[in-house]
């Protein structure tokens, strides 16, 4: 059947509001009587709170002050474990941990007051990196500093070390990364006995916030209402942290009886909210004489920060993705997320996979060099194919031809001809050119049994004007939720795109369709919309309605997952990709310019080509920043370059032309054949770019960001090695 809406570049649903400046973000709301809130935070990484002094200088009687003693329910940020307090009462475990809240109508006075609250501490020893956390000399969380461990095993790695022709080892690391959504976090809240609590905010997951506020206030579900305003970018950074801001705004509103707005400025947002987990990965790989993988032994460790938050889940995805898209009979991944006294690290596009895949794709190039094969040829000999089983024992049932995907990417990038050209040009120039690539995958939807537990629901309702309205909790944050879900409904119902509308996420109006995370919106929730639309269309055959239909998640047949052994179908489907980077490195300055980028991916059916390529391009540029520019400077667990002036993200001048190509193989259990797309482009660019730098300079690198200083250092080491090595 020919499709009218799906697969077409229809205009983003809220495009007009956005280009006219009419879209309403939380800071644009100005209800009468609103006052402003501020958060007093820990100035030290770890210690006991001894006293809180309100120094003179402002009329303190005019301020609303909230401490943990004012919390009506439980002093927790309810998520997976309940280890994180909403407001610290006796102990602080990281810099910038919230201790108390103040509010006042006058923002200037509030700013002054903030500096007049002095918290006295008795410092406790703290740990700041993976190694010192694992040493366990200082225990800062639980009994052993470990939030979570996984062991994922297939075959028996230890049986092959002796017979292998090659053993290749490597250690790789990635730094923390700040989301830098251009709209900082913020919430507006009202709260009173009669109506309960209502919050409006910049957020990804209305029901996460809802859940956290229920625990905090001890209120039943119907007395908590969470409304998502237009959200100015999120990337995972508005997945779990908004629960804290909503809680704080609501507590101030509860105590003051007035609407309270709590909007972070950039410095506070960067210093206090979550970042991507720093990681360390160790690889030990056995390879046969023919260049086939025999065993992969991988150790993957994440720095989770001070509280457990989502670290166990991030670790899980990083663990499953660690062996990548390769066939290997013996795999062992031992992974851990450990505690340090930094603000908790959290969800960020890719969710652990960019970290473990960075390590893997650098390591694969290293193995290819050791074996004496070209990196594409080595990969070609080891790619998973249809019928193979992954490291979790999941059988690939979908058509999969990674060799063809890789070949298409290399050809589009002009890889082979350019490689030869650069090899002959480089010796004569201070500007060294290089090419590198990465092949990888990203699992769509929640890991393992996650979707089964979520039991997501969506509803469709006929409207008086002959249209249909979508009710679900999926949020638009720029990635295209509104448009894609509308396209799916309109296509299925046979209605014009304009006749289908979507309700602003509001927990009083929409059912829980699960969180807007994990590249699950199009594939999983889209499928629920498609099913609901089919059902509604059936009903409309016999009568004009009105109707409201509701569908709930059903696991596709034949899916098995065991949380204990970590075996089975980790994801309903994977998206696959091959990315090629072309770079120029100036060896005098260490400066790297990415000249061109080619991205070929198989994401199932493309529902909207403009939105889809927009996701890929945006992800690639965010990953370019991760690879080259974005370096967080830590001092005692605190980000000290917490400004846009000294934490540098890519500008229009830093980004190359990006060629985006899709291979479309419809996935039968995804909406209209779609698989996940949003996170995939975050996984591959960093290793592709770093492999290209290695290719340009003939040096090896093992961590990101690769700043000019790193390049100059490595080049100096390299010269020294050449000078001292016997000829």
């Amino acid at each position: 059947m020919e499709s009218r809406v799906v697969g077409q570049p229809v205009q983003r649903k809220e495009a007009m509001a956005k280009v006219c400046g009419a879209a309403r973000y939380v800071d644009d709301l100005q209800p009468p009587g609103v006052i402003h809130g501020a958060t007093i935070r820990s100035a030290i990484p770890r210690g006991k709170i001894l006293d809180i002094v309100f120094e003179p200088g402002v009329p303190w009687n005019d301020f609303v002050v909230v401490t943990s003693a004012d919390i009506p329910g439980r002093n927790i940020v309810s998520l997976i474990h309940d280890d994180q307090p909403c407001l610290a009462s006796q102990i602080v475990n990281h810099p910038h941990e919230p201790i108390l809240l103040i509010a006042h109508p006058d923002e200037d006075l509030l700013r002054r007051a903030r500096k007049l609250v002095r918290v006295q501490y008795e410092p406790l020893p703290a740990v700041f990196d993976i190694d010192s956390s694992l040493k366990q000399e200082t225990i800062v969380w639980g009994s052993d500093n470990v939030f979570k461990r996984y062991l994922m095993a297939k075959g028996d790695v230890d049986s092959v070390w002796t017979e292998a022709a090659f053993l290749v080892e490597g250690e790789y690391s990635t730094g923390a990364q700040e989301h830098v959504y251009i709209e900082p976090n913020g919430m507006l809240a009202t709260a009173n006995d009669r109506e309960g609590v209502t919050v409006w905010g910049s957020l990804q997951c209305p029901y996460y916030v809802h859940n956290a506020l229920m625990a905090l206030f001890g209120f039943p579900a119907e007395k908590i209402r969470v409304i998502q305003q237009e959200t100015g970018g999120a990337f995972g950074g508005k997945e779990e942290y908004p629960s804290i801001i909503a809680a704080h705004a609501a507590l101030l509103a509860w105590k003051s009886g007035r609407p309270v707005k709590l909007v972070y400025d950039r410095e506070e947002d960067m210093a206090a909210t979550t970042k991507r987990h720093p990681s360390r990965t160790r690889h030990r790989t056995a390879v046969s004489r023919e260049g086939r993988l025999l065993a992969m032994d991988i150790e993957f460790t994440l720095d989770g920060g001070a509280y457990s938050t989502l670290s166990s889940v991030v670790l899980s995805r990083g663990t499953i993705h660690a062996p990548g898209p390769y066939r290997c009979p013996n795999v062992r991944v031992r992974s851990a997320a450990v505690a340090t006294n930094a603000p908790p690290h959290g969800a960020f596009r890719g969710f652990g996979a960019p970290q473990s895949l960075f390590a893997l794709e650098l390591h694969i190039d290293k193995i290819a060099r050791a074996v004496g094969l070209a990196p594409d040829e080595f990969r070609r000999r080891n790619f998973l194919e249809t019928g193979d089983s992954t490291a979790t024992g999941q059988i690939i049932t979908q058509p999969l031809d990674l060799a063809a995907l890789q070949e298409r990417a290399l050809e589009a990038a002009g890889y082979r001809a350019k490689l030869l050209q650069f090899q002959s040009d480089n010796p004569r120039s201070q500007l060294k050119k290089g090419l590198g690539f990465a092949t990888f995958m990203h699992g769509a939807g929640f890991t393992g049994s996650g979707e089964r537990h979520l039991q997501s629901v969506v509803e469709l309702q006929t409207t008086a004007d002959g249209g249909v309205r979508i009710f679900c909790s999926m949020t638009e944050m720029g990635q295209g939720t509104n448009t894609i879900l509308t396209q799916i409904a309109a296509e299925t119902l046979g209605l014009p795109y304009e006749k289908v509308t979507i309700c602003q996420p509001d927990t009083a109006l929409v059912p829980n369709s699960g969180p807007t995370v994990a590249s699950r919106t199009s594939m999983i929730v889209g499928m629920l919309i498609e099913r609901a639309a089919r059902e509604l269309k059936e009903k409309l055959r016999s009568s004009a309605g009105p109707f409201r239909v509701r569908t709930q998640y059903r696991e596709p047949p034949g899916v098995h997952w065991d949380d204990e052994t970590y075996r089975g179908d980790a994801y309903g489907a994977y998206s696959w990709a091959a990315y090629v980077a072309e770079v120029t490195v100036d060896i005098a300055t260490g400066e790297v310019q990415v000249d061109r980028f080619t991205a070929v991916q198989e994401v199932g059916r493309v529902l909207n080509p403009v939105l889809a390529s927009g996701q890929i391009e945006g992800g690639i540029v965010q990953a370019l920043g991760f690879a080259l520019l974005e370096k967080i400077i830590w001092r005692d667990g605190s980000m000290v370059n917490n400004q846009m002036t000294n934490y540098i993200i890519p500008t229009a001048m830093d980004v190359p032309p990006i060629q985006v190509l899709f291979e479309e193989i419809p996935y039968e259990h995804g909406a209209m054949g779609a698989k996940g797309i949003g996170e995939l482009p975050m996984d591959g660019p960093a290793p592709a770019i770093v492999n290209a730098i290695e290719n340009a300079l003939g040096i090896s690198l093992d961590s990101i960001p690769v700043t000019p200083e790193v390049i100059l250092d490595r080049l100096r080491d390299h010269v020294r090695e050449l000078e001292t090595s016997p000829v």
């Binding site: 006219c20 100005q30 959504y181 950039r266 720029g478 403009v610 927009g614 846009m644 500008t651 990006i658």
Partner: protein, 155 residues
Amino acid sequence: MRCCITFTVNDQTQTVETFPMKRLLDVLREDLQLTGTKEGCGEGECGACSVIMDGLLVNSCLVPILHASGSSVRTIEGIAPPGGLHPVQRAFAACGGAQCGICTPGMILAAIHLLERTPHPTRGQIREALSGNLCRCTGYQKIIDSVEQASSHLS
């Protein structure tokens, strides 16, 4: 000490009574309820607060209202006649130049500022002209496409 500042916003004369050091950004958003101009950093780095003041593209978070006295300011709300669209707005909507939309008003003003001086810029000139406006969603490619398309619709 509060003072009275008179200036023109989107062709209308406005007088506000305010502190002289209050940021133009806040006067626009709070006193005049023109919330289309956004704040991303408050330190002149992101360009979300870009407006055109006397023909110059400025970061309104860095301009004390005192300095805007007597000036003429254009914001996203005033670039097209009511109910209409500027060609740049139309192009951003059509080409996918706006994702989350928070950088969009500033980006559109920067693009208009460029096209008023250089109606047919190269992609390199577009990159340069927009380099003071950060976007974290699009990777810039569709923003550059949008400006190119708008430019092709200008005679």
